[in-house]
Amino acid sequence: MSKRQYFLHGMRDGMPIAIGYFAVAFALGIKAVAAGISAPESALMSLLNLTSAGEAAAIALLGAGTTYVELAFTQLVINIRYLLMSCSLSQKILPETSILHRLLMGYGVTDEIFGISVATDGALSPYYSYGAIAVAAPGWTLGTLLGAILGNVLPARIVGALGVALFAMFLAIILPPARKNRVIAGIVAVSMAASAGLTFLCERMQWTGFTEGFRIIVLTVTIALAAAILFPVKEASGEEACHAD
């Protein structure tokens, strides 16, 4: 595929992300204004940060009053999962990918763009990422801006219906491989059950410090590591002969 085709492909797959982002960001914009952040500031925050959980936490902190150190540390804890995703993506891009491409792709490592990136066939092209970012980042930023300006003008019902787009997309990413591979099917089932259980437990025990971002990283490390030890992946390329025994 040409660069242009990769870019268009990324835009196409990025559309549901942009729609889902718009819906989530709209709600975020409303919260930002309520916390005393202006509409342009909230839009800038979304453009530069591109992270739902991190921004939601920042808005809560800024509304209550906080320090730069606390704010930065909160982002580190909530967003540390991107570190794992980037590690995973570093194996999906060609080793000769230039530093500039790596620096630009890094901006777009979100849960959702990561999701569609790992689902692409073969090596990940930077242009695919750029295509996805080209629609997703404006969706996120405009959603925040409009939410901050328009507040509750848009009917909650429509915004709510859009909010489910992201989750449907995640399912569309993980289910086809889960159907073909029993280990992945098991991992998906265990992960969902553990996540639901842990969330329920946190609410029951009122562990407010155990945020969603923290839950994601704890479960990801635990379950993926257990799976890696129990079911090491057979190499698909090159090394296959070594593991044929």
Binding site: I116, I173, I174, L175, M192, T220, V233
Partner: protein, 105 residues
């Protein structure tokens, strides 16, 4: 230091978040050979996406009924291997239609 500039606060958090995202991409420049690490990174997306979907999807809509309906539609279409935008659109439409029902929401 107490925050006196929202702009500076935004830049601080953006800096931290960008570094988290970009460092592995810049620092890991070759294929990892260790089989356990490779397997771990291979499984990461499936766990992360599963964990992010459940239980968040149940509270993403105005009613758990519409969320369950959307989940069912997404699972069926996802298992059939439908394209991402189609699955997403179908789930949104499901939520919208189900919430029009008088006994939902």
């Amino acid at each position: 230091m107490q925050i006196n500039s929202i702009l500076l606060a935004i830049l601080a958090m953006a800096g931290v978040t960008y570094l988290i995202r970009v460092l592995p991409l810049v620092l890991i420049r070759r294929e990892i050979q260790n089989r356990t690490v490779r397997s771990f990174l291979h499984y990461v997306p499936y766990v992360t996406l599963s964990v992010m979907t459940v239980p968040a999807i149940f509270t993403a809509t105005a009613s758990i009924v519409s969320a369950l309906a959307a989940l069912a539609v997404a699972v069926v279409l996802g298992l059939r291997g439908c394209k991402l935008p189609l699955v997403a659109a179908a789930a949104c439409l499901t939520v919208f239609l189900v919430e029009l029902l008088p006994f939902v929401g």
